[in-house]
């Protein structure tokens, strides 16, 4: 158990570093463009009277400089989220090993990371696509944040429901049948949830190409983060299996 956790956290650390690299190289250019656009004042009017600008400053007058925001701040963010993802994935894996279908440790790890990516990244990305600076009405940040985290929670609950549906089918179908039933359950549940949740249209005149490249950059960052967690974890489990000690036995790395 401890070995598994440590490996998860290490995978998360590595993933956070990799995600920072991708975010810095792929995400930052469009983020800079968006902030430049924001500061011309042509962005959605509600955002940019003088009072609002001083309250939420990105430029030179900001409390934390843009350089720090795009380097140490960004690195802190990706490392923190990487560690959190790595840790939680390791926990989920600890509970899933030997309990999901005819899968070994590595197969289970790949499945857990895959399900996590769909539930925590892909579905939220499709429901509430991330927005660059200058997009979004500050007056709705409360409800938007609540809707976003509500969606995350609903997505995880839906995974749980899908899992118990698969379990309840028992021996009536094979592993593929159960997996199919679980996937179908999840998709139907999340379509219903997405239909019920509020939607927001606060783009204003924001340039579409910048929006698109920002969202691609964001998806690339998150995909890198989860992908590196998955690959590192699966690779480290391969080494556990070649040593005589088992995953829970605390074998030295």
């Amino acid at each position: 158990m401890r070995t598994l956790l440590i490996r998860g956290l290490l995978a998360g650390l590595l993933a956070g570093l990799a995600a920072f690299g991708v975010a810095y190289l792929v995400g930052e250019p469009s983020l800079r463009t968006a902030i430049a656009y924001e500061e011309t004042g042509t962005a959605a009017d509600h955002h940019h009277d003088e009072a609002a600008t001083s309250e939420h400053a990105h430029g030179e007058e900001a409390e934390v400089s843009r350089t720090v925001q795009s380097t140490w701040g960004l690195l802190t963010g990706t490392l923190a989220i990487g560690l959190a993802v790595g840790g939680i994935v390791a926990l989920a894996l600890a509970l899933a090993i030997g309990r999901i279908g005819p899968l070994g440790e590595r197969g289970t790890a790949a499945l857990v990371v895959g399900i996590g990516f769909v539930a925590v990244v892909l579905v939220p990305f499709l429901t509430y696509p991330p927005n660059p600076p200058a997009v979004g009405d500050p007056d709705t940040i409360g409800t938007r944040t609540a809707a976003y985290f509500g969606l995350l929670l609903a997505s995880l609950v839906a995974v749980g429901v899908a899992g118990s549906v698969a379990r309840s089918l028992g021996g009536r179908t094979d592993a593929w049948g159960r997996a199919g039933a679980a996937a179908l359950t999840y998709v139907v549940l999340m379509l219903a949830v997405a239909a019920v949740l509020p939607s927001y249209d606060e783009l204003g005149d924001f340039p579409a190409s910048t929006l698109w490249s920002f969202r691609l950059g964001s998806l690339a960052t998150l995909t890198t983060l989860w992908g590196v967690v998955g690959l590192t974890l699966v690779a480290s489990l391969a080494r556990i299996r070649t040593t005589p000690a088992r995953a829970g036995a605390g074998s030295p790395a």
């Binding site: 158990m1 598994l4 975010a23 995400g27 930052e28 983020l31 309250e55 939420h56 990105h58 900001a62 409390e63 934390v64 720090v68 925001q69 795009s70 701040g73 960004l74 690195l75 802190t76 963010g77 990706t78 923190a80 989220i81 560690l83 959190a84 840790g87 939680i88 926990l91 600890a94 509970l95 090993i97 030997g98 309990r99 005819p102 899968l103 070994g104 440790e105 197969g107 990244v121 939220p124 990305f125 509430y128 991330p130 927005n131 660059p132 600076p133 979004g136 500050p138 940040i141 409360g142 944040t145 609540a146 976003y148 985290f149 920002f214 964001s218 960052t221 998150l222 995953a247 829970g248």
Partner: protein, 71 residues
């Protein structure tokens, strides 16, 4: 007689780790993860525990690029 050597299986199904062994870790790590995600994803945005905008600005770019609603 029933000695099945399962040559076709890539990996044999491993024995599960007892839930009671996972739960304390799950509690501890779950709590830490929630606090972490909160500070990166939401502090000084929709809700503020600390006054000012320092935390918000420091993690600003990460918050945007990791897909959280920011402002």
């Amino acid at each position: 007689m029933s000695a099945i050597t399962a040559p076709a299986a890539i990996e044999s199904t491993p024995t599960p780790i007892p839930v009671s062994q996972v739960l304390p870790w799950a509690f501890l790590l779950g709590l830490l993860a929630i606090v972490t995600v909160y500070f990166v994803g939401a502090e000084q945005g929709a809700v503020s525990l600390l006054s000012g905008t320092g935390v918000h600005e420091f993690v600003h770019d990460g918050r945007h690029l990791l897909g959280f609603p920011c402002h």
